[in-house]
């Protein structure tokens, strides 16, 4: 077959053009890359999170929304960074002092004087009352005020003078200060949060109109969304912040860039394009980054937990012995070491490690305690020839990190007992939620981030027949209800801890849920970044961050 003889080589003109293009590209890239280093007064942070709906505290009920509300707003009290969020760890913020009545039904806060909103309006007790009342009255069905039950807890709010706020409660609520420290309770600027507006939404090109928050260490000066997803945010230091004279925030400008997934975020921090990467980098990448010298890995206590839920409407999971046997068969160490490479801790109670009142209640059942498993299941009619069949469900669309891997490890550890067979079922999050509501999943895995940092928020939403109704697990115990209600109202710290001890003991006995693990928190930064605090509150405190170099 003949082909046309090609002309010899490339012409000189073409060669020159190609060479010029390559030189321009390289020079241009180098020049452009020089622009990518950040000045010392600016921290660029990368994340895979995003604002789920808005920055309105009456509506926002997601991790990242609360993170930005904390950076741009302020509450009456705060929790000391690095503490265990115990009763003595609350520090003044917009309130300088507080007290509660002996019966726990009245809380009085004295407010800080001389604080101004960004529009020059003075901060007074009116703004506090307005903010909380607004959340309760709007009663956004998506929002935290209904979700946490502010209206059930707070009866009325009084403002006897400009610098005093008095909360009257429906019942003594021991974690009331924790509630006041949570971002849902932060004070809005009434001029930017009309009572009749259901939600203050994102407004294209107008950061001020997109958020009612004020008084925080930062002001939101830029917020860009594309197709409903965050692309970039900019926070600039608030000169009117009450603690500005204390040197806060430590860095004037924070730029937040949003990445699609953990791999893209890892690439960015490894390439030095960002100063901080926080949520979410995978455990594998963290382990790899720990070996590198161009980044620093920070690790701390996490407050995120995952647990198994039993649907007690489905036999034999209505039998506590079966539930205890499954709890004893779980090998938590296998999960934390295999799936999370040691970056998670085994959890033996619904109250997380490091929190006041925590007890390792499930340790009495043991981990991979197969003698106990076989003995207990034999008592209810299961053995090697007639195995207990467990349909274990997990969420498969990435709502929880590593769910399929966790489920696989659970299957392996339960089946190692020799008397259990596990059938795995995955479902995406919308289907998973529907199945939960339909009560069709026999055993399923869920996760939990706290609304406020107190054992109550790890107990009431799970073990109380009313508070835990969202689980649809059909667990109800009058004795447990009573214990939980008493623990919510008990103001004496010692008595409260005793009640939580009883709750956790009963939890291990009834085993309606099986705590699995508690995630650590980690962040990766360039070596010049300091001020990262990762504690039980899960608060990301932008205002503490600073750089020691460019």
């Amino acid at each position: 077959m003949q082909t046309t003889r090609a002309s010899k080589g490339i012409s000189n003109t073409t060669k020159i053009i190609i060479a010029l293009v390559v030189v321009i590209l390289i020079l241009g890239s180098y020049f452009g890359y020089q622009m990518l280093t950040h000045p010392i007064d600016t921290i660029v942070m990368g994340t895979t999170d995003s604002v789920q709906s808005s920055l309105d505290p009456s509506d926002a009920y997601d991790f990242f929304g609360w993170e930005i509300i904390q950076a741009t707003g302020c509450g009456l009290v705060d929790i000391r960074p690095g503490s265990q969020a115990g009763p003595n760890d609350f520090v003044p913020a917009l309130a300088t002092s507080w007290s509660s009545s002996p019966d726990g039904l009245t809380w009085t806060f004295t407010l800080r004087r001389g604080v101004k909103f960004s529009d020059g309006t003075g901060f007074t007790s009116y703004a506090v009352k307005y903010s909380i009342q607004r959340g309760i009255e709007i009663a956004n069905p998506d929002g935290p005020f209904l979700g946490i039950g502010y209206g059930d807890i707070i009866n009325s709010i009084e403002t006897p003078d400009d610098y005093t706020v008095v909360f009257h409660l429906n019942f003594p609520f021991a974690p009331f200060l924790s509630l006041m420290a949570c971002p849902a309770s932060y004070v809005v600027n009434p001029n930017y949060a009309p009572m009749q507006y259901f939600r203050i939404n994102y407004t294209e090109g107008n950061a001020r109109a997109s958020s009612p928050m004020d008084l925080g260490p930062y002001i939101l000066t830029k917020w860009t969304r594309v197709a409903g997803k965050d692309v970039e945010m900019r926070l600039d230091a608030n000169p009117d912040h009450w603690n500005a004279t204390g040197g806060y925030p430590k860095t004037k400008h924070i730029i937040i860039k949003f990445y699609s997934d953990a791999t893209a975020l890892r690439m960015a921090i490894d390439a030095g394009e960002i100063d901080v990467a926080f949520r979410q980098i995978t455990a594998t990448d963290v382990k790899d980054l720990q070996k590198k010298t161009n980044v620093k890995v920070w690790q701390g206590v996490g407050a995120f937990i995952q647990y198994l839920v039993f649907q007690e409407k489905i036999k034999p999971f209505d039998d506590p012995r079966v539930r205890q046997a499954i709890a004893a068969a779980v090998n938590r160490t296998a999960i934390t070491s295999t799936v999370f490479l040691g970056l998670a801790q085994p959890l033996y109670s619904m109250v997380p490690n490091g929190m006041a009142g925590h007890q390792d209640a499930f340790k009495q059942l043991g981990d991979a305690n197969y003698d106990f498993v076989r003995r207990t299941l034999r008592d209810v009619g299961y053995d090697e020839n007639h195995k207990l069949v467990v349909d274990l469900w997990y969420e498969s669309s990435g709502h929880y990190a590593s769910s399929p891997d966790i489920a696989a490890v659970l299957k392996s550890s339960l089946e190692a007992s020799g008397v259990i067979t596990v059938n795995l079922h995955g479902a995406d999050w919308p289907t998973y939620r529907s199945n939960m509501r339909a009560e069709s999943m026999a055993v399923y895995i869920l996760g939990w981030y706290p609304d406020y940092v107190d054992p109550d928020n790890y107990v009431y939403p799970f073990l109380h027949s009313s508070g835990g109704s969202w689980l649809h697990d059909n667990y109800a115990s009058q004795a447990m209800d009573q214990l939980v209600e008493e623990s919510r109202s008990e103001t004496d710290a010692v008595m409260r801890n005793q009640l939580y001890a009883q709750i956790q003991t009963k939890l291990a006995a009834d085993a309606p849920l099986v705590p699995l693990f508690q995630s650590s928190a980690w962040a990766v930064t360039r070596p010049v970044v300091e001020g990262v605090v990762l504690d039980i509150t899960q608060n990301w405190r932008h205002w503490l961050l600073y750089k020691t170099g460019g």
Partner: protein, 343 residues
Amino acid sequence: MGSGSYIATRILMTIPTIVLLLTFIFFFVRVLPGDPVLLHFEKQARPEVIESLRHQLGFDRPILDQYLDYMLGVIRGDLGKSMEDFSPVSEQVLSAFPATLELSIFSMIIAVIVGVLLGVVASRSYNSSADHFLRFFGVAVYATPIFFIGMLLQLLFGIGLHLFPTGGRMYPGMEPCGLSFGGTTIRTGLYTIDSILEGNPVKFILALEYLFLPSVTLGLYLSGIFLRLTRSNMLDTLFAEFTIAAKARGLKAKTVMYSYALRNALLPIFTMMGLEFAALLGGAVLTETTFSWPGLGRYLVQRIAFRDYTAIQGAVVYFALVVSLTSLVVDVAYSYLDPRIRV
């Protein structure tokens, strides 16, 4: 039928296509398991609250009423509000379109240049080791997962050589403003064009830098198709009678290759370009995810995951329009490229 009538007819035929497709999608998404109302309530379970939101979203109305309301809205240009954050779907789609368009254009340029050039080289050196290598290259690059190509480029050029950024669309604060005059701003949303309009060479270079890796990733991946297609078509035209006749008349090899063979081989390639470009305008999910490119590719995937019915429907309207218009442009352009074809 004149070309004007042809174009008008094709445009009008787009309407029933979209109506049929939208009807199918409207009912199909509602059959999928998963309740979008429940997704708003991470922890809240009070039935009256859930039903209140269901009522607010109109899901408690008869399905046919919901359908008719939605279709009437589409006729008015209202694609409804996203069920996730309640912002207008049309705004969401339009906000992401420029990023998708820019990536599509540059990726297509790279795909065509690389694919056609290499295809020509392969056909010229038919049955040689170069030809065999290029054929292998065309298959390999198309078979390699695109995110893998992307990650390799990120590791080499981003982390290793620090030449290009690994993700995002622009350096913070350097988004081009376009052309401003007398209180009016002309902004296309394409950063390369807008930086030229603004007269800012630094922003132009930065826009190209951020475009480089995702465009090369997608372009290389698609070049495999064009390489194989060009080679195959070139071999057909190189051995066609008119080419042999041209050689016999003593025309230069270069003239025969490019003015006769390649020119005639380009017609099917042009059709493929149109199809691929329309597909790219639907968004390149994996490339956008790998490079955190804020385009439409991830939009539909995310909306399906949230069971955001209105956003899914809106995205389908957009895709149908894009594909219809692109194929129309290809057909009309065809008639100019090939005098034998008349619309």
